[in-house]
Amino acid sequence: MDNLYTALIEAIRTGDPEAGAAEAERLAQSGVSPLEIFRECIEPCLKDVGDQFSRLEIFLPEMMEAAEVVKAVQVVLKPYLKAGEQAQVAKGRIVLCTIQGDLHDIGKNIVKAMLEVNGFEVKDLGVNISPTEAIRAAKEFEAQLIAISALMLPSLPYVRDAIEMVKQNEDYRRRFKIMVGGGPVSRDWAKKAQADGYGDDAIEAVKQAASLLGV
C-alpha cells in the first residue's frame, strides 16, 4: 500500500475513528479520489484485519474498532463521492439477527464485525428476532441479504419459518437472499430448508455473503 495512506491505515489498526475521519477528510481535500481511498487503502486494510482475526492474531474488539473507524471514514467521504460512485464502494446491505427464542449474541457479533470489515453494510437487529421482524427490517433497510443465527435446537423451526416466508413470496424471493448459521444448523439442514447460503463460522459467512451478492 502507498505511503500516502500510512496515517489512515494506522487509524484503522489502532481503532481511532477521530483520527481516521480527520485523515480521510485531509486526503479528500487534497484531491485524492474517495474511490481510490476505498480501493487502495480501506479495502485491503480491512481484508488484512479480517484475515488476522480468522487466524486469531487479533480479536473481536479490535475488529469492531476497525469497523467503527471505517464507518466514520465513510461519513466523511460521502460528500466527496460523485454520482454513481456510492454504489461502487458498497458491497451490499445485510440484516443480521439471532432468531426468536434465542438470546446468544457473541457469535452473531463476530459475524457482524467480520462482514463489516469486509465491506458489507450491516444492520444488526439483535437477538430473539421473529421471522416477521427480520423481513420487515430487511424491507426497511433495503437489504439484499438476511443473515440468521441460531444456537439452540428448539429455535430452528423459526429459522425455517423465515426461509419459508421469503421463498413463498415472489417479491421477497426476488429481493432477498437468506443465509443461516449457528451451532445446530448444518449444511444439510440449510439445504433441506432451502436457505440460499450457509456459514458454519464467521469466515465462511463472509465468503457466502460475497458469493450470494456476487461481489
Binding site: 480479536f59 474488539p61 457469535g107 463476530i110 439452540m152 428448539p154 423451526p157 451451532g183 448444518s186 463460522d201
Partner: protein, 457 residues
C-alpha cells in the same frame, strides 16, 4: 446472606441499578478487561497449557474482582446493571457452599471444593450435555453413560423431536419436551440401576415456561442440578432470573454456567482468563450457584480443547481454587467424535488440565462439539473417569509434560473436524456396549497414556 434473601437483593438491583444501553455495556466489558489486564500485569507465556505461576493466578483473581466491581452484570430485561461492591462480592463468596450432595440414596455423591493439585478426585458428570439425539436413541444413549461405574452424575442429550414433532421454543411443544426429558431420564436411570443418580436439567428448556413446567417434585428433583446459562458476556434477563427464582424456592441444587467466547469481548488468553474468573464469581454471587460452571468456547472450532482456551481455563480455575472455596466445573467439548483417537486425546489433555487446576466436577465429553446429532457415547465418559482418577494429585509440572505430549497428538486434527461415527455405529445397541473397534481404540489410547507415565490404576 441466605439464598432467598440474596435473591430479593439481586432482583432489586436488577430493577434499580444504573441504566445502560447493551452496546455500551459490551464496550465496558472490553475496556474494563483491557484495563485490569494491564494494571495487574496478566501475561501468559505462549507455550504452557497448565499454569505454573501461583502469583499470576492470584493477580487474575484480584483483577477479576476489580473488573466485576466496575462492570457488574447486565439485566437485558430492564437495561440496568447489577452492581456489587468488593465487600459485597467477598461476603457473597464466603457464603457459597464448600460441598454439596448430588443425588439421593445409594446413588448420591458428595461434590466438594478442591485445591490446585488436590488429591481428591473431581465428580465425573459423564454426559453429552444437550447434544442432539433422535428420540428413539435417547434411552439407550443415556444408559450408556449412566451404567458406567466411573460416572457419578449425568446430564441428558437434547431430544430432537417430541413424539415425532419438532420442538419449538416458547410453544406447548417445549413444555411437552421438558416433561418428556424428565420421563425418559427416569426410565434410563432405572434401567441402568441407578435411580437416585443426580442429573442436570433441563436441556431443552430455553424459555422459563419450559423449565418451570418440569421443575417440581414429580419432575426434576431437588436432589438434581437445576441449570441455566447466563448470556455471554455477563448478562442476564427476567427469563433466567425466573428459572433461578423457581429453583431456589424449590430447594434445588442451583447449577448455572457462563461460557465466555475466546477472541470475543475478552480478547486473547489474558483477558479470557480474567473474564472466566469474573464470570464464575458472578455465577456464585449473583446467581447463587452451588457449583459454578463454564465451557469457554473457541469461535471457529466451537471446542475448548485448543491450546489458548485451555491456557486461559487453567489459569482462571487455579485463580478461583487458590482464592476461594467455590466449587467449579468445566465441560470438555472436543472436536473429535466417537470412533476417533482425536476425541480420546482431547479428553485426556483437557481432563488432566482441569483436574490439576482445581475443578470440583468435570462435565462431558460433549463429543464432536455437541453439534452433530448422535455423535457421542458413554465410552468416552468412562475414559474421562479413568483420567480424572489418574490425574488427581499430579503435580502441575508433570501434568504439563503429559498434556503437551497428548496435545501434540491431536492439535493438527482440530481443523479437520473428525466428528467420527454416530452412537449406533460405535455401540452394540441391544447390549448397550461399545463395539470391539471402539473398545480397541479406547484400550490402545489408555495403554499409550500409561506408557507415557499417566498413573492409571
Amino acid at each position: 446472606m441466605k439464598n432467598a434473601t440474596r435473591l430479593m437483593d439481586v432482583i432489586q438491583r436488577g430493577l434499580t441499578g444504573p441504566l445502560m444501553e447493551e452496546d455500551v455495556f459490551n464496550r465496558q466489558v472490553t475496556l474494563g478487561l483491557r484495563r485490569v489486564v494491564k494494571e495487574y500485569q496478566i501475561h501468559l507465556l505462549p507455550d504452557p497449557i497448565i499454569n505454573q505461576d501461583d502469583d499470576l493466578a492470584d493477580r487474575v483473581w484480584q483483577a477479576a474482582l476489580d473488573f466485576l466491581v466496575v462492570c457488574g452484570v447486565y439485566n437485558q430485561s430492564t437495561g440496568r446493571v447489577i452492581l456489587h461492591s468488593r465487600d459485597e462480592l467477598l461476603r457473597g463468596l464466603s457464603d457459597a457452599p464448600e460441598q454439596v450432595w448430588l443425588g439421593s440414596g445409594r446413588d448420591a455423591v458428595l461434590e466438594h471444593y478442591r485445591l490446585v493439585e488436590d488429591r481428591r478426585v473431581p465428580v465425573n458428570m459423564g454426559s453429552p450435555i444437550g447434544s442432539p439425539i433422535p428420540e428413539e436413541l435417547f434411552i439407550p444413549l443415556m444408559q450408556s453413560y449412566i451404567q458406567e461405574p466411573l460416572v457419578d452424575v449425568t446430564c441428558p442429550a437434547s431430544l430432537m423431536t417430541v413424539q415425532g414433532q419438532e420442538i419449538r421454543v416458547g410453544s406447548p411443544l417445549e413444555i411437552l419436551a421438558a416433561w418428556e426429558e424428565v420421563d425418559l431420564m427416569r426410565i434410563a436411570l432405572a434401567r441402568a440401576g441407578r435411580p437416585g443418580m443426580a442429573w442436570t436439567g433441563l436441556m431443552l428448556s430455553m424459555s422459563d415456561a419450559g423449565q418451570l413446567s418440569a421443575v417440581n417434585p414429580l419432575g426434576l428433583r431437588d436432589s438434581d442440578m437445576h441449570t441455566f446459562g447466563i448470556v455471554s458476556e455477563l448478562k442476564t434477563n427476567f427469563e433466567i432470573l425466573n428459572k433461578l427464582t423457581h429453583s431456589i424456592r424449590m430447594g434445588g441444587i442451583v447449577d448455572p454456567y457462563a461460557n465466555p467466547i475466546y477472541g470475543g469481548l475478552g480478547g486473547g488468553t489474558a483477558g479470557q482468563a480474567v473474564l472466566i474468573c469474573a464470570a464464575m464469581i458472578a455465577v456464585s454471587v449473583v446467581f447463587m450457584a452451588a457449583c459454578c460452571g463454564s465451557s469457554p468456547t473457541h469461535p471457529f472450532n466451537f471446542n475448548d480443547t485448543g491450546k489458548e482456551v485451555m491456557q486461559a481455563s487453567s489459569l482462571a480455575f487455579q485463580a478461583i481454587a487458590r482464592n476461594s472455596h467455590l466449587m467449579t466445573n468445566l465441560t470438555i467439548t472436543p472436536v473429535g467424535g466417537p470412533g476417533t483417537k482425536t476425541l480420546l486425546y482431547e479428553t485426556a489433555a483437557f481432563t488432566i488440565m482441569s483436574t490439576v487446576s482445581g475443578i470440583s466436577r468435570l462435565l462431558g465429553p460433549r463429543s464432536a462439539t455437541g453439534a452433530v446429532a448422535g455423535h457421542f457415547s458413554g465410552l468416552e465418559a468412562r475414559f474421562s473417569g479413568q483420567i480424572l482418577r489418574a490425574s488427581a494429585g499430579l503435580e502441575r509440572g508433570r501434568a504439563e509434560e503429559l498434556a503437551q505430549r497428548i496435545y501434540a497428538c491431536y492439535a493438527p486434527q482440530l481443523d479437520q473436524k473428525p466428528y467420527g461415527l454416530p452412537f449406533q455405529e460405535v455401540y452394540d445397541l441391544p447390549a448397550i456396549q461399545p463395539t470391539k473397534e471402539w473398545q480397541k481404540l479406547y484400550d490402545e489410547t489408555l495403554e499409550e497414556l500409561i506408557h507415557w507415565g499417566l498413573p492409571v490404576a
